[in-house]
Amino acid sequence: MKQKPKIAFCWLSSCGGCEESIVDLSETLLAAAEAAEILFWPVALDYRYEDLEKLEDQELDAAFINGSVRMDDQEELAHLFRKKSKRIFAHGTCAHLGGVVGLANLFPGKEGLNEAYLRAPTVSNPDSILPKTRCEEGGETLALPGFHPAVKALHQVIDVEYSIPGCPPTPELVEEAILGLLEKRLPSRGSVLAEKKALCHTCPLNRTKPERIQAQRFYRIYEKIWDPNRCFLDQGLICLGPSTRGGCKARCIQANFPCRGCFGPLEKVRDQGAATLSFLASLMHAATPEEIEMIADSIPDPAGLFYRYSLPSSRIHQSRFEENP
């Protein structure tokens, strides 16, 4: 009898949205569960770390891992998966690029803990106690996983064969990845399983873009009523469509919302933020430093906007902090 492929699903530093994208497969999921043997899926069923440890090396045909890596246990789990699985799928933007949680890298490592445990307005912590990896309590030793100074994408911790982009990925992309595995028609290793071209290529508003866009300033979403039938860039609203991989079916655009870049940069681009910055600069209708500065200043948080989903895997992948930047 032909052996069924063995697969696993797991989450690391994740919001759970990517797990939703698996559940959203509905019938396909049932078919997949029929065609493959799911050996590990902690979100859905009661699996333990030991269950994974017990597997033979390379026993899994594929592991679909979502979420970025910020804690010791996540890193350990990632390495264990690498040992047990023939293929690793970085599932969703956090695993693929670091994701929106990667914006934490705009602040020095310890600042995250300080913010969450000391400064947040809803926190009362008079003794300024911060989580420790180890402490003694009533004669017992308690342990917590350690907190890394920066968020990493999965490929920065272990080798990854395939990436499924999206925050979360569309069910169609997840389905295509699973079927590709079952039907043995996966593309070459290292591929990102989405479109090769930027969102503009399939964007329904691309044809409304004029020959030249000349922005007097950029607007934030709340500042105007947006025409849903006209290219957002031409309306002065920053849209990351030109610098973002397509494959999302322009879901945000069709909801009258500009692209925020969750599918990440194009194949030949390492740095989505720099690519975004460069094309936005060319839209500025100004030639003197004063005029240009005025337009530049209409973008209050450039790094947060340009790198919303991809900061950990950008050129400056983990910030290098100076005292007075």
């Binding site: 720099a274 600069a281 450039p302 950008s314 400056i316 100076e322």
Partner: protein
């Protein structure tokens, strides 16, 4: 203790600033060896990614030198550069990098004195602010 010798990448446009550099050479100006030149046809070729890559790879400063506004060989390539430059300047502090580690200026082919002065000033400035700290996270 050995003094800090910064590394500064300088992008020079073929028509004005590279000529300015050559004319500084011909008039035997003393230039700081900290500055490492890269020739591009127009300062407008300088992709913001090149600037970030330079910092990532360990440069302590980056200089972009182009033709004076109005005398760009390609008419307004240098204005594209100016727009990118001012936008990067707004972003650098967010990435934890001081603004003064990146500088844009205009040098014509005859301005050998200005070229030498810019190199000296930039080197001096970076020596004062010190090396750019390394990445805070450990990568694979």
């Amino acid at each position: 203790m050995k003094s800090f010798e910064p590394v500064i990448i300088a992008f020079l446009c073929n028509w004005c600033s590279y000529e300015g550099a050559d004319s500084a050479g011909r008039s035997r100006k003393e230039l700081p060896p900290n500055v490492k030149p890269i020739r591009v046809m127009c300062s407008g070729r300088v992709d913001p990614e090149f600037v970030l890559e330079s910092f990532q790879k360990g440069a302590d400063g980056v200089l972009i030198l182009g033709c004076h506004p109005g005398s760009c060989h390609y008419r307004e390539g240098n204005i594209q550069t100016l727009r990118r430059y001012l936008l990067i300047q707004n972003m650098l502090p967010q990435l934890g990098i001081r603004r003064d580690r990146l500088m844009l200026d205009w040098v014509s082919s005859g301005e050998s004195d200005k070229f030498a002065a810019i190199l000296d000033r930039m080197t001096c400035r970076i020596k004062t602010v010190g090396p750019l700290p390394g990445p805070t996270g450990n990568l694979k």
